[in-house]
Every structure is written in C-alpha cells, then in structure tokens.
Symmetry: C2
Subunit: 485 residues, 2 copies
C-alpha cells in the first residue's frame, strides 16, 4: 500500500488548504477539535487495541494504557491552547518620544504550516498517528501528514480514519490529518514544498537520513528527531551500601520493561567495582522474562547488538533471564569496566534496542568522570546517591549529557505534564525542544509581529479585549489574568 | 591575520572551560557582566567609532547611533536575565496517587555551550563582535567565539579586546569572548566540536554554506542565519489616493537609507497600475543621493544586480538619483508589472544589496495575489491601506511570507524591544526564532528537567526560595511575583 507521488501531492494540497483554517481557529475551536480526536480514539478503543495487539504483540494491558496516555496528551494540549501562554503574546506600546520614535509592536506565535510526523515502532499509539508529535502540531494550528510505521500498518490506517473523521465531525477542515505509507513516500514527504516542519521518533540511521533530507532542501525546514539514547545511570558507593538490592531490582524491572524497547531504557550503569552490585543484579535478572520484539528488524538487530558488545575483550556476561516464548528475546546483563568504556565508547556505548544493559565498574571518581565524558547525548541520566555524597563533578557531566536528570527511580516512564522534557544533546534529539510535555507545541510555531496595525487587522488574540484574558507581556511586564475574572 | 587551526583549538579550549562558569552564573552576575561590556564600549566610543568610520565609511553620526543600539541591546538582555521569564521555569509537584505515580519535575532552560557568531558587514557594531547574537548568547550563559567580518578587521579586533577586558574586569572567566579571522577559520569554527550553536547575519550564499556545514556535522548544531530578504510593500488604490506623495517620499527615504544596505530595505513595492505612483517616486528619487558601499564585494555586486534586473524585458528605469561622490552608488528605481514577477520571480525578486527598489504595477486583486505568492520569505512585509480596504487576502499571504508585518511607516529601523521579531520564512532566516529583541536569547538555551532532585542538587533558580521571586508555572498555573515583594 505504498503511497504514490501523485497521491502525496493530493494530500499536500488538502493540507495546504486546511492550514489557514487551523491557523486562524480560535482557542476554543482548536481545543474542541483536539478533544474530539481523543473522544474518537476512546470510542474505538476495543477495535484499535485489538488491531494493535495483533500487529505489535505488546499486550492488551499495555496498549490500553497507551491509548490513555495518547488521549491524555491530546487533552493536555487542548488545555495548553486554552491557557494561552504558548502564544508568547508580547506587546510594546508606541513611544513617539523615543529616539528614534518607537512603533507599536504586537507579537504572537502562529502555526508554521503543514507538519510531517514519522511514527515510531515502539509506541503504536502515543508516538504514532495520533501521538505527541501529531497532537502538538495540531495544537499549534497545523494540519499533519503522518508517515505510518511499517510495524503496524493496519492500526495506522484505522487510527487515521478514526481521528480524521472525529476532527471533521467536530468542524475541522478536510485535510487536517492524512496518512502516507512506504519509505519512499516518507522521503518525498519531508522534502515536499508544502511541509514546513517534521517530527520523528526512531532509529539514529533513519532519523539522520531524514534530517539530511530536511536540511538539504532548497528551503530547509526544522526536523525534530528523537534518535537514540543510552540513558546512563550512576550508582555511588553510599547508594549501593544503603539500598543495593532495591536498586538492582529496580534496574532489572526498568531495562526489561516493554522488552527493553523504550527510548529511555537504562542502557549503561556505572557501579562501584567490587561492591557486589553485579551479583545482586544477576539474581534478579535470572528471574526476569523477555518476550517477542516489535518488528523483524529489531528481532534481527538484537542478537547482533549483543554479539557486537560481547566481541569486546572487556565484556563479560553477568546473567541471562528467560526468553518467555519462541522467537522471544532473552534479557541479558553484560559488564565491563570504566577504562574500556573511556577507550572504546563507539563500541560499548552504542544504543542496543531490546532487554540488555551494560554494567560498568569504576574504581575511582576520576575513572568514573572519564567514562561519563565518553557517554553520548541522552534523553535521561540517573544519579543514585545519598545525602553527603560528593557528586557535584559527576552531576555537572550528566547535566551536559542529558535532558532529564533523575535522582530516584528509573528513566522508563515519561510523565506527560507541563514541565516534562524529552530531549537531549545529539544523538538523543536534533533539537533544543522537547517531544513530550506541553512545551512540545513550540516546535511547530513561528513568531510574527504586527507593527502599528489597525485593530481590525490584528489576529484576535492580539487585540486589547482578548489580552485581558490571556497571559501576556506588555512593555516588559508579564501579566497573568486573575482566576475568576 | 588568518587564525590558524591551532589557534582556534586554543580558543575553543578556553571557551569550553568558561562555559560551566557562565552556565552556573547567577542572574545578577550575568547581568553585571553584560552591563560591563556595554560600559566598556561606551568608555571607548571615540576610538571605536574612529576605526569604524575608516573601515566602513558609514559616518560618525550613524556609527555613534549604532554603538548606542549595541549597548542598549546588552542592557536589554541584562534586564531580561534579571526578570527571569526566559528560563521558562516549570514545576510539577509529585502526585503519588496518580496512575502511574507522578514524580516531581522541575524544568529550566540552560545554556547550550560555546556559541559561534558570524558578524555582518553592514552593522559593524550592532550585528558584529558585540552585537545582538553575541549579547543574546552571553545572556543565555554561553561563551562566544566571533568570526570577524573582513570588511572591518581592525574594529573587530579592538572591539573584542575592549569587551573581553571589560568582561574579565567584571569577574567573568577568561575565554568568555574570542575572535577568529579568515574564511577557513570560520568554516572550522562552525564544525568545531566545542561549538554548540551558531548565529550568522550575511549573504544567502555564505549563510547557506555555513548552514550546510553545521547541519552536516556528525553532531548537527542549530545554525541561526539571517540570509536575505526583499521586504515586499503593498500600496492599495485608496492609500495611493489618500497619501501618495507621502508614501513616495517615505519609500525613497527608506530604500536609500544607509545606501540601501539594510536587511529590511523595501526591495519590491506593489503599486496600482496607472495611479501615478511611479511619477511621484521619480520626483523624490531624482533628488536622492547615494554614497560609497561598504565593501568591494558589495560595490562590484550592485551594478551587476541592476544589470541582471534590467536585462528582463519587462523592466524599465523610473529614475536615478545622484551618486554623491566618486566610487559611490547611484540610487535607482526600476519598474515592472505583476505578471512578469509571477512568471519570473527568480530573476525579479532576488535581493539586491544597495540603493535600488523595484516598483511592480498591478491591475487587479488577482494579479496582485498571484505576484505576492511568488515573493520569497522575508523579514518584513508592509501594507499601506486605508480603513475599509478589502485587504484580507493580501494580508493572509503577507503573514505567511514575513516575520514582521507593518501597517504604517517603512521596514528599515528595527526597534530592540521585548516584542521585536527579526526573522521570517526561508531565505529570510533559517529558524523559528528571532535575531533581534529579548526572545533572541531562546536560540542559545536548551531545556533540562530534574526529577525528584534533592534540593541541594538543584540549580538555584529551581529551588522554592528562588521561585518566589521569579515568574514560573507550578502545576500548570503561571505565577508572577508581585511588584514590591
């Protein structure tokens, strides 16, 4: 079912026609469209989860939870649109007495135009057709064309049908959401003149190729890719002594969650040498169960990735769990030492999708710091320490390497909230923006400022009567509407 | 005086060492450093303006004004740092009762790391060594390495010395500001592993080449380029009838200002056919005076650009002004019609630096709209209309094409304020961000979120005691400190 060039052109024309309607839509309209999409998904949850389970084998419990996350995202963005801060409304009144005389300026953010979204294998709902990229692009006032992931084509089609129908029934224009299929259609999509920005969740190789296409256009467009992350964890001596068993259990739970196919899986864990952590982890890992991986590509890549690690002379196997079925992946814990990691990071610190983690023994703070410097940019970094630990130097490195720094728990599980940041230095993401949380909307907006505009030609949100009810800055002072007004 | 690779490496090491100091600096420290840089420029204004006038021939009045703009920019960013909204502080308190339990998240923005700034020929102060890109990168908490423009090398060196000394005297670390010279050093700079983002103001060709280098790195970095802009102007029948003479006079003043070398010069003006505007403009243009252009390259390119336009069979010369000296450029007004522009935009709508503007006659709204669709992305668009004019369709196109839309006056002159936006769709800029105004700081910041962090390991601005005095969002609610508290 590969989309042809002619079909893509038709979808692009429809998206371009829908763009001004989305851009000009009021906050209440747009919020109602986002909520209609969420309601549509819920109304079809049994059917959609059924298709998803057939295609991904992720299981009904996980998939129902993921639909909840997806509808929650749509509703969070609806709330963000209504709240209005995302517009960054900023007014400077005219000052005829200034030298030179200062004009009136009224600034807002506005939708960039049609957005391409490349969906992920590992979240068939939350990072796919109606996932976070789509929700934030729509919330910003843009139509979306989604490139379906080949791992769940039927679900992609059905989800697109359900959401597009829900949007239209709520009054959104035709062309608000469309789907394309096939690698070549994806390549054409990111280069299509109508497309003004792209969001992507997937592999480093695939993401880099699309990033290069987006950047190589005659008119380059922003490409927001989430590509790969090893998510380093550091355990201090004191933390190991205080709660080693709980940490070992937590680590095994986290790296095997979802059969190790979360982008926030803890892939490399720095542990004190000789502290007994490997033994603790081995105990829990031996009791862990794997499962089938999402796609044939991932299934093939997992043993190859393990073999690549094991080929390093420093690497030993700590423990293996149970596969839990035929054609299923077996959890595995490997170990090495900090000197090897510092010497060969390109071998030892490459992301390996699936239920594997690498324990890295360190014998001194300097050894730890040298190895941490070799860690590539990551979505998350986790520091398990105790009060009084001198962790300033390690924390300084981790803050430079990651977008989210945790001090308790494990990085799998990404709360969808106002403050969440899901991004990090390359290759975690390509951007200074998040792909999860309310501020993800900023990726698909551009500023526009109106100078000395007659009130009737201003966008409604920039008129004085609307400003009274919206957060805005006027002459440098931030103003927030009072509750109850 | 080309900078060698070894010299660049040394400067990069120093910048990398300065980066954590800048990142961790308090708001009051960083603001004092920015103000010290402004004070340093003012203390040396006579010397600096003297050098600048020798190298650029822009004249003392203009250059003194530009120093004022430059120090004003540094002080605006100091105020923005103290105000604190730019940090986008966002806190979500823990919710153990949620499913799954929600951790505490505290988000801030933080400096990306050392920034490369490529300075411009046409603003030797305001868009050069200590200009807006440098000021906003420092305000964001990053050291800066500037690539000097070859049009004013001595001024670049002296400005860098003055500002670096002022920063160090105020307590900023060594390595806060450095200078490199030569095209090859610039190419190495944008690819240097230490550099985390780049700002650029200059030509489309030069900017595109650097953008490609930044995007082609093993770890791509954001490149914020301001490249080229024709700044369309539309005059309606009613506006022409009501104030044709004032509009003609204003246009001539604007396109000849600074000898036509502003990035916001009105380069293409859509006027009603047969309305007499060409004759009015001819009258004022005949009395206009040009002047010497900034560099040999611009001096050579100007007649070539005119010849390129005049070679189109539709183009006629409306008027020429006086050159005003030997080796000086003569102002010139050309005309064509909307059908030719719609048919051959790549010829007729290419930016031509220098005192030239192109009047485009339109005979109907449809003809105007078709020609406007052919206009490339621009920094500004200007609409001169009268109350009651039906301009909705034209305005919709202009809003899509430009970052700043004016309804009075002329686009030259860019107020440095909280709300200003200086940017636009490609090729005006590469980004969704501004290079002028307080929000320019956002280009050089990245988000970081702390999950369940002990208070003593949080950055100071994320602790509850600091939050009371800073704008922040907590559990979705935006809070602004009250004046007088």
């Amino acid at each position: 079912m590969n989309t042809t060039t002619a079909e893509l052109d038709g979808l692009a024309v429809a998206a371009a026609a829908a763009a001004p309607v989305w851009r000009a839509s009021s906050a209440s309209q747009r919020a109602s469209w986002l909520r209609a999409a969420a309601d549509g998904l819920e109304a079809h949850i049994d059917e959609l989860v059924g298709i998803a389970d057939e295609e991904t084998r992720l299981g009904e419990v996980r998939l129902r939870g993921e639909v909840g996350r997806t509808t929650g995202q749509l509703r969070l963005f609806a709330a963000a649109v209504e709240e209005g801060s995302y517009l960054e409304l900023t007014i400077d009144d005219a000052d005829p007495s200034a030298t030179p005389p200062r004009p009136e300026l009224r600034r807002t953010l506005t939708g960039v135009g049609p957005v391409a979204v490349f969906s992920a294998s590992n979240f068939p709902f939350a990072f796919s057709v109606a996932g976070g990229d789509t929700a934030s692009a729509l919330a910003a006032g843009n139509p979306v064309i989604v490139k379906a992931h080949s791992g769940h084509p039927r679900l992609s089609r059905r989800t697109a049908d359900v959401v597009a129908a829900a949007l239209e029934a709520a009054g959104a224009p035709a062309g608000s959401l469309a789907l394309v299929e096939g690698r070549e259609a994806g390549n054409l999509l990111v280069r299509h003149p109508v497309i003004q920005a792209a969001g992507f969740t997937g592999s480093l190789g695939g993401g880099r190729a699309l990033f290069d296409l987006a950047s190589g256009r005659p008119d380059p467009i922003p490409f927001y890719g989430e590509l790969g992350s090893v998510n380093p964890v550091v355990v201090t001596d004191a933390a190991l002594a205080a709660r080693g068993e709980a940490l070992a259990q937590g680590l095994v739970g986290s790296f095997t969650l979802g059969v190790g196919q979360f982008c926030t899986k803890p892939g490399v864990v720095f542990v004190p040498a000789g502290g007994g952590f490997e033994e603790l982890v081995a105990g829990f890992a031996a009791g862990a169960t794997g499962g089938p991986l999402l796609t044939d590509r991932i299934t093939d890549a997992f043993p190859a990735g393990i073999a690549h690690l094991e080929a390093d002379p420093s690497v030993a196997v700590v423990a293996r769990g149970a596969a839990g079925g035929t054609d299923a992946a077996q959890p595995i814990v490997l170990s090495t030492d900090a000197a090897a990691v510092a010497a060969r990071p390109e071998t030892l610190l490459e992301e390996c999708f699936g239920p594997v983690t690498l324990l890295v023994r360190y014998s001194s703070r300097d050894e730890l710091l040298a190895a941490l410097e070799a860690v590539p940019g990551s979505l998350t970094a986790t520091l398990h320490s105790e009060p009084g630990d001198d962790v300033a130097a390690a924390l300084a490195v981790l803050e430079r390497k990651a977008g989210r720094v945790l001090f308790a728990g494990w990085p799998t599980g990404v709360a969808v909230t106002w403050s969440q940041h899901h991004g990090g230095p390359w290759p975690a993401t390509t951007s200074l923006h998040t792909s999860v949380g309310a501020s993800a909307i900023r990726r698909f907006l551009r500023p526009i400022v109106f100078q000395d505009a007659p009130v009737e030609l201003l966008p409604p949100q920039l008129r004085d009567d609307a400003l009274a009810g919206l957060p805005h800055r006027r002459n440098g002072v931030l103003r927030v509407p009072q509750p109850g007004r």
